[in-house]
Each structure stands twice: as structure tokens, then as C-alpha cells.
Symmetry: C2
Subunit: 393 residues, 2 copies
């Protein structure tokens, strides 16, 4: 492999994304280093955009890979170039934080199929010179992990001290711990599952149908057409956002409180605060996310079923593992309920793995892993400290 690396301010993806395109490190892989995808397609050239924090030690033994969720990106601990908001996990990653960038070399890459600089459906299809659109091959969580492994190789890192992530990030953690077991010293899958449930596939399908129902989607070729399916993508985000919260947190935060009024408006404007909140979630999301990437990344989640790749027995995915696991779930998470984490823990136990499990009492649903949940941070810090001692760090 002879990747080239350089910081870029603009990716060569599409005129629509160019203006938004962040300053990010990008590893480019040419025809000599294609990515072999689960669907059978050989992707080349391709690239992966990433951020790093901290310094790789002389032993190259202190690398941590953070895997992001569906709508996350590589800006785990630095200001987002489009929104100007803090990194999505600055509560966890940074100097003196549980994943301490004074001690660890942290890498976070945009997933394959994403829209923040890694090759995805908005990238240029070399065969046509136009954006891939739906001609982009459907990618899987395993493909995402393959692309990250290529990046880790490229960075000269033999193995990872820790792979951590929540939600779809947790799926990648599990995939790393299975497919690249010998390169993972410790694994931290949070608020995730070893496969997507029927209900989760259903919600993803609603989101995809919302995008595809928007005539501005143009059968996926909106970039060439100069349109943008913002309304459909906003509806998709609104529906998904409900699943990230809990009924009780919605009740506590919004209840039936009215928005900027004292009585019902008897119309279809936002009467209730929850309505304007959701509308804001939808409209702000479309400014930073590509609609086709939304289709591809949700599809990757739907397809994830780690047991199915191992004869239907999840424990076989971890046979003989030496990785230390810490599995975490949240009581109010109904997208990836604790039962999903227990399934993982049982499989790890059956595989003889070293595993600890914590179900954290938290009221804010699936999104708890992104929020200020001190118990999660304490457990996470304790697990990392223990693993670091074992690793001699």
C-alpha cells in the first residue's frame, strides 16, 4: 500500500459539499490498495478522513480508535467545522478526560459511506466523473472496519490499546474485536447490539423512505441535478431523533409545554415545544449531512448481524479472544435496550472472554452515551485505567 496523506481543506467529492468540507487529515489509497467490500465490489481509489489527538508513544502501544455513530464524524474532540459546536465526545475524550489525550494517541475517522471526507456516495465515481449517488456500493460495518484497519496500518500502528464507541460505533467495536481480535487490547462497546432489531430496521426504513419520497432526491442523483432532498432528510432525522430519547426525558424536558404562546394556536405551527425542538433537529441536521450517506449508513446498521457471520452463534465471533471488554447500556435506552448488551455479554462469557458489564441508570435514552453521565464516565475511566496497567502504559 502506498497511500498519500495530506491535510485538505476541500474534498473532491461534489460541488455541494465543497463549501462545507472541513479541514481534516485524509489518507488516500490508490488502485494498488483497493478496499474489498462485502458486496463483492473492489473500491479504488478511496480515502478516509480522520482526526488525531495526543501523541503516539515510542512503543506505538497507546493508540485508541474511537468509532462514531450514524450521524457522527471524526470530530470527536474538536470543533465541528460546519456547526461550530464542540466535538461530539469532548466529555470523554481530551486532556485529563477518561480517554486522556495526554496519555493516549486517539484516532477517529469518518466512516466509509459517510460525508465528512471519507469516500461515500457523494464522492466522485471515477468511472463517470460525477458523484456516485446510488451507484455507490452498499457498505457494511465490516467494510467500515476494513477501511479503519487500512488507516491504522497506514499510521504505522501495529495494534490498538482500545477501540471504543457507542451505538453504530459500538457495532464497529464488536466487529474490530471479532475480525481483528489480535489487534485490540481492550474494547468498549456502549449502547449497542450485535445485530439490528426488527424495530430498528423499521425506523431506518422510515427514514430512508422519507428521503427517497422527496422529489429533490432525484433517484439519488441530486448532486448532479443541483437539488437537495432537505425536507425528506429532515423528516428522517426527526423520526430517528425520537428514538434517541426516552419517553420520560421527553416528558421531563418538554411535557406538553407550549412554544412562545399561552394557549393552543388551533393551527399547524409549532404549538408544543417538542414540535419546534424536533423541527430544529431536522432543519439543522440537513446542513451538515448528506442524504445518500444517510441511506448508506443506516443500511450498514441494518445489515449488521455478527452472529450470522459465525454460523448463528455469537460466541463464535469471539472464540479465543484475549481482548478485555467493558460493555455498557442505559436503563432508558429503547433503541439498544440492555437486553442487547446482555446478549453480547453472554456470548463473551461463553467465549471465555474477560468482560465487565454495567447497566447505567440514566433517564435520557439512547443518547445518554453522548451526555454528561458521571457514572458512565467513572466506569469508563476505571476500565481504561485497569487495562492501561495491564498493558504497562
Amino acid at each position: 500500500m502506498q497511500p498519500t496523506e495530506d491535510p485538505v481543506r476541500e474534498a473532491e467529492t461534489s460541488r455541494h459539499r465543497q463549501a462545507d468540507q472541513p479541514s481534516s487529515l485524509v489518507a488516500r489509497f490508490g488502485p494498488e490498495a483497493p478496499l474489498m467490500l462485502d458486496c463483492g465490489v473492489t473500491l479504488a481509489p478511496w480515502q478516509i478522513a480522520y482526526q488525531t489527538y495526543g501523541t503516539l508513544n515510542a512503543d506505538r502501544s497507546n493508540a485508541v480508535l474511537i468509532c462514531h455513530a450514524l450521524t457522527g464524524d471524526q470530530y470527536v474532540a474538536s470543533t465541528h467545522p460546519v456547526t461550530g459546536k464542540p466535538g461530539w465526545w469532548e466529555l470523554v475524550v481530551g486532556p485529563g478526560k477518561p480517554i486522556d489525550t495526554d496519555r493516549f494517541f486517539v484516532v477517529c475517522a469518518n466512516v466509509l459511506g459517510g460525508c465528512m471526507g471519507t469516500t461515500g456516495p457523494a464522492s466522485t465515481n471515477p468511472a463517470t466523473g460525477r458523484a456516485w449517488g446510488l451507484d455507490f456500493p452498499v457498505v457494511t460495518v465490516a467494510d467500515m472496519v476494513r477501511s479503519q484497519a487500512a488507516l491504522i496500518d497506514h499510521l504505522g500502528i501495529p495494534d490498538l490499546f482500545l477501540v471504543a464507541g457507542g451505538s453504530m460505533g459500538g457495532m464497529q467495536v464488536l466487529q474490530w474485536a471479532s475480525a481483528q481480535a489480535k489487534r485490540v487490547f481492550a474494547a468498549l462497546p456502549i449502547a449497542t447490539g450485535a445485530r439490528h432489531s426488527s424495530q430498528n430496521i423499521a425506523f431506518d426504513e422510515v427514514g430512508r423512505q422519507a428521503v427517497m419520497a422527496d422529489p429533490d432526491w432525484r433517484d439519488g442523483h441530486y448532486l448532479s441535478a443541483g437539488t437537495s432532498p432537505k425536507k425528506g432528510l429532515a423528516v428522517a432525522r426527526m423520526a430517528a431523533h425520537i428514538t434517541y430519547m426516552s419517553e420520560s426525558s421527553l416528558h421531563q424536558k418538554f411535557g406538553r409545554k407550549l412554544q412562545d404562546r399561552e394557549t393552543l394556536g388551533f393551527g399547524f405551527d409549532s404549538d408544543f415545544q417538542i414540535e419546534s425542538y424536533l423541527r430544529h433537529q431536522g432543519s439543522s441536521f440537513v446542513e451538515r449531512f448528506d442524504a445518500n450517506s444517510y441511506l448508506y449508513v443506516t443500511r450498514a446498521m441494518d445489515y449488521f448481524d455478527l452472529a450470522a457471520e459465525h454460523g448463528g452463534v455469537l460466541a463464535h465471533a469471539f472464540q479465543g479472544t484475549a481482548t478485555r471488554f467493558c460493555v455498557m447500556s442505559f436503563t432508558s435506552d429503547w433503541l439498544f435496550p440492555t437486553a442487547d448488551s446482555r446478549t453480547i455479554v453472554h456470548a463473551l462469557n461463553a467465549a471465555g472472554a474477560r468482560v465487565s458489564f454495567a447497566e447505567i441508570v440514566a433517564d435520557r435514552g439512547h443518547d445518554s452515551f453522548l451526555l454528561d453521565e458521571p457514572e458512565m464516565h467513572q466506569i469508563l475511566a476505571g476500565f481504561i485505567a485497569s487495562a492501561a496497567r495491564a498493558r504497562g502504559l
Copy 2:
């Protein structure tokens, strides 16, 4: 009031609905009998379409009003004129059924704001000669009950032996038992709440935004424009349909089973059975339901908050009631969880009402009230038999 009544095969609403319009009884109210709405608008003329089953006895004491849910209609126990399917509650209503049409005179009317013959946004606005569209006044559950009360007056029924319904039908039952307490001998609110939760408002708002995002919606004037926001309405239905089922029933029914294939398709067709099932739910729904009615009827549900109308104390809504109540919920219903029913029961207890409550162990979520759930049917039959004895029927 001097309503005229006649069976109609076609309503005068709009050319789009004409072809679908069912054979139904319709009570028409002219300018001399306007409907006073909560929003302050006086609606006239207006009409209400309904079905009846069984015979009113000489005492006029055996009348039962069935209230339908969001996407239900008056065809509670007869073939649906558009879909050709059996009535939506034939398991419960009919000769020899728990609500026995050999004994009771059953009335079921399409709700105000609906699209099966009762005045709604697809009806003709007398001021313009065109369909109302979004100029139709926003109606409430209380307005629906007012319109039903006018129908019951019109039918010469002094009071109702029973008012029964599930989901939004249950909201109407509660409203009847509160606003028209002396006319309700027994009340059967099933799988419902005394107010819509924040999460339920959120899901409704997603549905409305999906409809309004469809350019064929034409700001609500699609009937005049000759278009139909079918894609948006289908997405709304898909999202809502997930909330009518339980995670466990989806898992049992569909799991991750593939549709017409043995391996993943690596595309965006329906790979999984749950996807094609949801798509079918969406596409079949739009054939029988008006998109603006969907906006109005969901809005009525959002606005429902019986306690708010009584100084914030739900018990005050039922003060001094002589009605017998049977409240039912289902263990797997997460749209109207048992806690919502318990709130109703506590308020009824505080008001000194005669109330029984059953939480039924059922696996199929909110839709359980429509399904073959023998325990529900037994409890329902027992409650009705006891109430009938007390009533001397």
C-alpha cells in the same frame, strides 16, 4: 335542529373522494344547527356519516356508541367500502359478540375532521365552493364528541347505555364521560390516555411534517390542484405503524427475516420482511385516507388534555359521575402504556367513580385492542353483562 337524513352513495366533498365515497347514513345539519367549535369557529352547514347495527328498543335504553381511532371510521362491523375488508372491530361488535348487536343498538360515526363522509378538510367550504384544505378549522376531541352528541340527539336517543373505544376512540369515551356524564351509563376506554404524551405528539409531528414535505401537498390545496401527497402520507403511516406494534411482536413476526431472497441484496429494495410490510402499510393506507384529515385528526389527539380543561386536576373531569367505567390497557402498548390508564383510574377513584381496571398481558402492542385477544373480549363481555343487568336490559 332540523337535520335531514338520507343514505348517500357520494358525498359532496371533492372529486377526489367521490369515487371512493361509501354508502353510509349521513345526518346533515344546516345553518340552524351549527357546530360550535373549541377554536371559536361556528361550523355550518356540517354533516356526520355513520353506521348503525341492531335495533333501538322501545325504551331507547340500549344504544351503544363506538368511537373510532385515528385512522378508523364508521365501518366498525361491516365491510369497508374502499378496502373490502371486514369492519375494524368485528371481533367485538356483531350478533353474539361482546357488544351484541342482537341486544344493542350500535352507532358508529366518522369523526369530525375525518374523510369518510363526516365534514372535514376535504369537504366543500361553502364560502369558496372548493375543498376547505387548511382553511378548515382545527377541531378537538371535544368537538368530535359535540358532533356525536348532535347525532345521538338527532337519532332520538336520550342517553347511551355504553360508550366504547380504543386509542383516540378512548379519548372520546373519556370526553363523553366528562362532558356528557349524565348521558353515559357505562364507559369503556381502552388503550388510551387522558392526554397525549410528549412522545406521542412528537410522532404525530413527524407524520404531519412528512405529509407537508410532499410537494404534492400544495399547502393543503392538493384537491384543487389535482395532486395527492401519497408519498408523504405513506411515510407518515409507516412511522406511526411502528408505534402500534411492540418490539417483541416485530421480532416474533419478522425478526431479521429476508424478503423473497436468501442473501442480502446490497441495495435499497426491501431486503427485510419488515421493510416490505411497512411499505405495504404505507401504500395501502393512502388509498383510503385523506392527507389533510391525517393532519387534523392527529392534531386533535395532540390537543387532548382532559385535566387541563379542569384546572389541571383530572379527577375534576369526573366529579359526581354515576357512570360505570372499565379501563383496559395492554402490557406491550408503548404508545399508551399502562401508566396512562392508571392515571385515569386514579382520577376516577378520586372522583368516587365505579371503576374496574384490567391490564391485559398481550404481546402485540397498541394494536392489541383491535386483535383477537380473548382476555380483553372476556373482560369486556363481563363488564357489559354486569352493566346491562344494572340497567335492566
